[in-house]
Amino acid sequence: MGLSVRIFKKVDEFTLDVKWDTGNDLSVLFGHSGAGKSMTLQMIAGIARPDYGCISLNGKVLFDSSSAINLLPQQRSFGYVSQDPALFPHMKVRDNILYGTKGIIRAERRAMVNEMIRLLRLGGLENRLPSEISGGQKQRVALARALVRRPDALLLDEPFSALDTPIRLEMRKVLNGIRREFGIPVVLVTHDTAEACAMADRVIVYDRGSIGRTGRPGEIFADRAIRRSQKAVDVQNTQRDAHRILFCVN
């Protein structure tokens, strides 16, 4: 059960070749920009297509190059939120959330939308257009819209990176609330160490298209901190050696 990802994709000089599995926990894809984190999420969601590989969710195959299976994004039950909340500018907040209720019987839609408005604290904004609300509110609407039809997993591509720190902290709380409420696999892409530490059950470190390390945030970031301090010591040693060389020369 959970999400299983095996992907190979070559774009110009860049090669993405990753393999990982996750259960009903929050996995953070962590790494520098251009490491292939967002591309992975797009392929899981069905927006982009791998060259070959296999993606399955709770035992259901979504993509398998060997059997030519490639379900459309509409046939994959993911909630997908990116850095750009991508709210439909011509629809009010309520209509944006309502747009995500495909597959829910008409009589239940209103109740589901109201539930999302309550859960994501959007009360009072229902009749506003996206252009009339703040960045944090837009991301909450995008989350509400992605979650309203109760997806089987949630994919978040740096959804809070464009927000100010206080709003980002608030959004983390919102996301923790969602995790408790839904109990589904969540994959969060970030290059923010603090965010990864605060949110992750497991960290998958991406390094130029492949997986560097996988582990609990404590393990991953303790090692990184040691390496960083080692690097600082090396720099100090280099500077000291440089001073010695200069002293000798003079």
Binding site: R76, A86, H90, Y99, G103
Partner: protein, 221 residues
Amino acid sequence: MNGSVLFSLRLYLQVALTATFFVILVGVCIAYLLARKDFRGRDLIDSLVTLPLVLPPTVTGYYLIILFGKSGLIGKHLFTLMGWNIMFTWYAAVLASFVVALPLMIKTARAAIESVDKNLINASHTLGRSEVETVFKVILPLSGRGLVAGAVLSFARAMGEFGATLMLAGNIPGRTDTMPLAIYTLANSGDRSGANIMVLIFTVISGLFLYISNRFAMRTA
């Protein structure tokens, strides 16, 4: 105003409006395919449908005769099947206006559709909405301004159509003489007063339609 003037006026509006209706219908579909689908021969289709924009209307008209004439590639089959030929009917005037106005709709609509943020289209798909639903609920409403502009341009082009219509529909008084053709006949026969009246009516009506269209386009924006 005598009967022939009224007939030409009515026919002229009827032809321009009918052609524009089909231009919008077909133009938006072709523009969508060109903007959103990657298929072999896309550039060729793009060039073919844009060709009437650069060809003299008489050349376009000539091609239409080759295609839809009684012994034309399509025309002969139509005649065999239905015993009917489009040449020298008001439908021919609609077809001529349609073909010359279509590129304007396609060009404008394609640019409008391409300008819709891809993230919004992806969001719609990941929310479980089909391609058709995405077209009607996201793409068309967000490219509405460009579509209206394309429709206005196409209507203006259809209103001013002369050359291809003359080739395909002829200039038969009481049957296919739309207003621009009737003015041509009056001017050629030396009936200056008749031509003056027609030109004045033509200019006022064309100006009025453009004014209304522009107002509507501004409101839509």
